[in-house]
């Protein structure tokens, strides 16, 4: 007897819905037959049988949600040719953990009030991004989306779901794998006043096109004495995903933030994603919009107001505190919030700043906070050398050195290419203990 287990169908999947059984108990199954359909957060996937035999029992009825990976879902009575059941899990720990929290930390207790946008609803970052593009595309015919798999495939990470249906193939444009070429083409179109949104499947592939982004998009306004602007958005997943190794896991925040002529934005919540993407699309400048794959499926409360938008260049105090300022962006804001909870339990009150925008950097908000707490911890996934944390720390030196009661501490990804092995990957990325330790170090606790 062979057990059929709930399969993992994507790098980030931990559970899924067993949507449909295509085989009944008692039916004979050949290797390769589709036996069931499973819904993950990204897509509905067909499950093929690996072994041959008779389906003796269905253990998880169709329609069941939240079935964990590796749960037995059916039993197969193997014929003579059936493969041996796969060996039991290894003695070493099975690699499952995503590098960051899957749940959204508790809402801040006393966040500094932003403009009150009224009622909110819970929405995923993925939907927020899609909605932002849809709204701006409805508002202006000059806005279009261009990239690999954005149309018929509905987005490699399903961000552009439904956009092709609504806007058609002239405005949601599938590209061959030619990043350098289509980026240059989009930059050229932007120079005429069109407003392209260029999706990089992930920012790792923007390296193929970085010449056009920096030498063409970022500098032409200057070189033309202000004649030729470039209203364009480059967006896609940035930073570490899960177990995709060195060439597919790195943070480009400091690379792009280094360059004058660009704006660089890194949203954390769904509200950040929608509000900032709308602003980026309307911005007359080239904007690098750094998303995060692990955040795509996370839900947050977001204002429902039609005109909801957030300014580029303003940080948000996500949680107020008095003892230490933790500055983070993108997925690391979640980690900072968790650390702040843990620190509160130990009597340390941490203020968490979500940078939102890296260039321009909202130095004013950071300085105001450090003047209050007198201590700074920076937190980022990327490498330390010339990183965002280094820049934030230097801004503090220049602006309020005398207010510091301790040298700032940077928490960051290790200074190495991302390893694949599950245990090493976990160690290569910032962990909550490190944030807590850093906060204690600067508060001498």
């Amino acid at each position: 007897m062979t057990q059929i287990l709930m399969p993992a169908l994507s790098p980030t999947m931990t559970e899924g819905k067993l949507a449909r059984w295509l085989k009944k108990e008692g039916e004979t199954i050949k290797a390769g037959d589709v036996i069931a359909e499973i819904e993950t957060d990204k897509a509905t996937m067909e499950v093929e049988a690996v072994d041959e035999g008779t389906l003796t029992a269905i253990l998880v009825p169709e329609g069941t949600e939240g079935v964990s990976v590796n749960t037995p879902i059916a039993e197969l009575n193997g014929g003579a040719t059936a493969a041996k059941a796969a060996p039991a899990a290894a003695p070493a720990p099975a690699p499952v953990a995503a590098p960051a929290p899957a749940s959204v930390p508790a809402q801040p207790r006393a966040a500094v009030a932003e403009k009150d946008w009224g009622p909110t609803k819970s929405i995923t970052v993925r939907e927020a991004l899609r909605d932002a593009m849809a709204v701006e595309m409805r508002a202006s015919k000059d806005v279009f989306l261009i990239g690999e798999e954005v149309g018929q495939y509905q987005g490699a990470y399903k961000i552009s779901q439904g956009l092709l249906d609504e806007f058609g193939p002239k405005r949601v444009i599938d590209m061959p794998i030619t990043e350098h070429g289509f980026t240059g083409m989009a930059v050229g179109a932007a120079m005429t006043g069109l407003r392209p949104i260029v999706e990089f499947m992930t920012f790792n592939f923007s390296m193929q096109a970085i010449d056009q982004i920096i030498n063409s998009a970022a500098k032409t306004l200057y070189m033309s004495g202000g004649q030729l602007g470039c209203p364009i958005v480059f967006r896609g997943a940035n930073g570490a995903a899960s177990r995709v190794a060195a060439q597919h896991s790195q943070c480009y925040a400091s690379w792009y933030a280094h360059c004058p002529g660009l704006k660089v934005v890194a949203p954390w919540s769904a509200a950040d994603a929608k509000g900032l993407l709308r602003a980026a699309i309307r911005d007359p400048n080239p904007v690098i919009f750094l998303e995060n794959e692990i955040l795509y499926g996370q839900s947050f409360e977001m204002p429902v107001a039609d005109d909801f938008i957030l300014p580029i260049g303003k940080a948000k105090v996500e949680r107020e505190g008095t003892d230490v300022t933790i500055v983070a962006f993108s997925i690391m804001v979640g980690l900072a919030m968790q650390a702040a909870d843990a620190l509160a339990a130990q009597g340390i009150s941490a203020e968490v700043i979500n940078l939102r925008s890296l260039r321009p950097l909202d130095t004013e908000t950071i300085v105001r906070s450090v003047k209050k707490t007198n201590r700074l911890v920076t937190l980022e996934e990327g490498w330390p050398f010339a990183g965002i944390g280094s820049e934030v720390a230097m801004q503090i030196m220049e602006n309020c050195f005398d207010d510091l009661d301790a040298p700032p501490v940077r928490v960051h990804g290790l200074d190495i290419p991302m390893p694949y092995a599950a245990n090493l990957e976990k160690l290569a990325l910032p962990r909550i203990e490190q944030v807590i330790d850093a906060a204690k170090r600067v508060t001498y606790k």
Binding site: L5, P7, A8, L9, S10, P11, M13, G32, V34, T40, K42, A43, M45, E46, V50, V69, N70, A86, P87, A89, A90, P91, A92, P93, A94, P95, V96, E148, E149, Q152, Y153, A156, D174, P176, I177, T178, E179, H180, N204, F205, M207, Q208, S242, R243, V244, A245, A246, Q247, H248, L414, D415, I416, P419, Y420, A421, A422, N423, L424, L427, A428
Partner: protein, 349 residues
């Protein structure tokens, strides 16, 4: 039929009169290697489903004839480089199944000590230069391998594999020009499996015959039935002969097909199940080889069973090894970032 029996060349552009064909031992080896790749990939898919393999995992199922047929044409010292869809290439170059599978599970026994994963493995000993995740990047690197052969005048040939999707990247065309300009011994093999992720070749390439993609630079090209290991081998021999003779690069467009999704998380809604099923049933490279062995070379079912059992045992052993080999030690985080070599300033070597 006798062991030395040859078959008519079937690749387009085959020179008249030449009959490279294939011998019984060669076809037997090809069958065994293709089967090993197939079974290995099926096992990898299973381990992925169990959560033992993470991240991206691109299976080569369906395309086995391409790399196995080409490998029959190569000699020790020749080099191979490819994309992230690399497990088959590694097994074909003779890399150990254990080391490949243990890399997939991220264990110290893997070819990259668990630090590279599915997309990044290498073996200098076997002439395998990876295992690359950035679409198209390996094509320039492959030209570089050929450049080294040209520079050293060592007679070796570099085989550079890439997908039809990758064939649209700018650096591919830069590399074709460079290879032709310097007459580099480089075989460019386009594995045209009809799709780059969810985009079919006709939605991505204005060029309808990819074998002509090198023609502006005078690079000879052929379209080859990549589901037929004998056709692949015949075309491969022509390409290798051309390169070894110092005539510069050669381009082969292998018409092939992947049966599985692009990676493990691809719902594959861009093609019908019938399309996949039809390919499997009518053109499967392993079935075709099996039939030929029986019908033309008189191989018995019992003899084939011995091969099947051997392959199964290798794959099971690799899976066991990949689960018992420990995770890399924490100290491995910091190794291999740079080579620490004090002798550099100590004077010549």
């Amino acid at each position: 039929m006798a062991e030395t029996a040859t078959r008519k060349p079937r690749g387009k552009g085959a020179p008249k009169g030449a009959e490279p064909g294939i011998s019984k031992p060669e076809l037997t080896r090809a069958y065994r290697d293709m089967l090993l790749i197939r079974r290995f990939e099926e096992k990898a898919g299973q381990l992925y489903g169990m959560g033992l393999i993470g991240g991206f995992c691109h299976l080569y199922i369906g395309q086995e004839a391409v790399v196995v047929g080409m490998q029959l044409c190569l000699k020790p010292g020749d080099q191979v480089i490819t994309s992230y869809r690399d497990h088959g290439h590694m097994l074909a170059t003779g890399m150990e199944a254990r080391g490949v599978m243990a890399e997939l599970t991220g264990r110290i026994g893997g070819y990259s000590k668990g630090k590279g994963g599915s997309m990044h493995m290498f073996s200098r000993e076997k002439g395998f230069y990876g295992g690359h995740g950035i679409v198209g990047a390996q094509v320039s690197l492959g030209a570089g391998l050929a450049f080294a052969n040209w520079y050293r005048e060592d007679g070796a040939v570099a085989v550079t594999y890439f997908g039809e999707g990758a064939s649209n990247q700018g650096q591919v065309y830069e590399s074709l020009n460079l290879a032709a300009l310097f007459k580099l011994p480089c075989i460019f093999v386009i594995e045209n499996n009809k799709y780059g992720m969810g985009t079919s070749v006709d939605r991505a390439s204005a060029s309808k015959d990819l074998s002509k993609n090198g023609s502006p630079w005078g690079i000879p090209g052929e379209q080859v039935n990549g589901m037929d290991v004998i056709a692949v081998r015949e075309a491969g021999e022509r390409a290798v002969a051309h390169c070894r003779a110092g005539n510069g690069p050669y381009l082969l467009e292998m018409k092939t097909y992947r049966y599985r999704g692009h990676s493990m998380s691809d719902p594959a809604k861009y093609r019908t199940r019938e399309e996949v099923q039809k390919m499997r049933e009518q053109n499967d490279c392993i079935e075709t080889a099996r039939r030929l062995l029986i019908e033309q070379f008189g191989v018995t079912e019992a003899e084939l069973k011995v091969i099947d059992d051997e392959v199964k045992a290798i794959v099971q052993d690799s899976a066991d090894f990949a689960q018992t080999s420990p995770e890399p030690d924490e100290s491995e985080l910091w190794t291999d970032v740079l080579i620490d070599d004090a002798s550099v300033v100590a004077g010549g070597r």
